[in-house]
Subunit: 353 residues, 2 copies
Amino acid sequence: MATIVMLGAGIMATALSFPASENGHDVRLVGTFLDREIVDSIQNTGVHPDLDLKVNDGVTAFQLEDAEKAFEGADLVMSGVNSFGVEWIGEQLATLMKPGQKFLCITKGMRAAEDGTLQLLPDTIRSYMTPELAESISWNAITGPSIAGELAVHHDTAVVFCGHDKDDLEWIADLFRTDYYHVWTSTDFVGHETGAATKNIYAFAAGFAEGLLKSQGKADNRYVMYNYGAALFAQGQKELRSFVTLMGGRPESADGLGGVGDMFVTSMGGRNVKAGTLVGQGIPFSEVRDQHMKGVTLEGVAAIKVIGKALGPLTERGVIKPEEYPLCRFLYSVVEEDAPLEIPWDKFFHDLT
Amino acid sequence: MATIVMLGAGIMATALSFPASENGHDVRLVGTFLDREIVDSIQNTGVHPDLDLKVNDGVTAFQLEDAEKAFEGADLVMSGVNSFGVEWIGEQLATLMKPGQKFLCITKGMRAAEDGTLQLLPDTIRSYMTPELAESISWNAITGPSIAGELAVHHDTAVVFCGHDKDDLEWIADLFRTDYYHVWTSTDFVGHETGAATKNIYAFAAGFAEGLLKSQGKADNRYVMYNYGAALFAQGQKELRSFVTLMGGRPESADGLGGVGDMFVTSMGGRNVKAGTLVGQGIPFSEVRDQHMKGVTLEGVAAIKVIGKALGPLTERGVIKPEEYPLCRFLYSVVEEDAPLEIPWDKFFHDLT
């Protein structure tokens, strides 16, 4: 039996408690300062209120002030917060983690320096630790198409655990593997994490078609706009592959579960798609942000803001070409400048020969 | 003004008549022996009954017996039948086409020899012609995500015209380009045509999740099975890429519009997805074929039968490895042997390292 500690008691961390606890492991969910009610609910009734499901026996919830106790004897530590909390989690883990522990990152996204240099979130977390601690830890992450609630109700889910050491990866994967949670492993940590971070960019665009149809009163027509959506998906997938290469990952990690599979599932729905739908209806993004979806966490928009902004300095420095990433650049203009929804078709697929 | 003749008056050929006629070209739709009522309808009322739309002025429909008249002065000839009619269209075009004409293929699919050698449909059509005629013709094809009805109602559609000669391709593309029909060109004819032929295989699998949910009474649950669908999509996309390479195409043609984009749109609905849904509900495929969808054209199932069957001899001859194409092999067992819907998860993503 292993002890697994998840910092952050959100829906993804809690969903992962199902296969792990069914394999007989001790799973400890530690709430952040935002998760007080979630932890209260699990402690009192066993129910995670956002998932609306009862967690398994063997899953224990802790308030943040009990984190130290929860981390005692942890074999595996996981980050279960969203990208907005990554600096906070870096600070926490710098004091809570012990040398030689294994880490498995759920949080997806990137940070960018002034000059456009992009950084994956596990590296952001590392930066809060002493070099000695950071180097002693085994860094791993979960990627692939995984809607939390589906995993929690035991629907087949297939993912890739990526990291640097195959033995560590297989050991961690075995903690979670069940007949419904199918886990592959890959040592292309950078490629898989880049795919996971950039796929969210394109989920926002996946909502446009429905919005356009609604605004034209055609949402229930016989002919909708799958062609339009598929064209954006195709351009998005090409850009995702370019990002994987740019970051130093293996291009083939843009295929399969970690790249196109994850992008597929992200395009099927969720908050980013909904924000895109509102923009498709003709509402300027600033109004979506400040009124219609005020206070809603939009990982895709956050990714567009960070990565889209970085494309400017990266182009100026000659790291990327001006004709690369036309869809990401366009989406950045939509969320930063309220640009109208005029797809720059003529800039797409520029390298087709 | 150019003269464009389409043999086959199905929905895709007719959809393409919209951009072409709006560009001022003379478009002639020639019905097959199965299209008599369609041609009657267009001749009498202008309405294509399956599309349920009126064709533009400048589009003329001909019955098959008037084919020779329709083909007079044709600058571009197109095949607008489905894959089941490819031998018939080969016979027709062998007598109707003139040396030096340009050809644009809409029909997608493959044929296989006894030893598993796969052939793209334009090559099947060629095989009915004298070598002199075949070599004098410019062979081109349309690929990419394109639901006919969406194009016909002027919804943005982005495609790739592929062929061997860039000048020919650009000339043909210019006949069709409008502000809603976005056409790229590529000289990777084999890669794009392979993507277009094999994507249909995986559309059948795209229906399984909905069927499984229905059979369990969970179709309206909060948590559905997008993870499952995304995993099949991801494995399908990897196999599509392998097919492109196997046939001698450029691997990158499995990206973008011609590969993953087309696979995306095909997974969003249609007859193959519906057949997959019925199988997901637990109905053996033979019963779907003989009862629930009797007489319905299933291009995806046809592709599985041809290509899935070819995988056997190709493996025996050492052209492909036994661990390659596990999803296509499984789908073949479903449509040929009524195999139960037990996804061979452990065979997927075998080359992940």
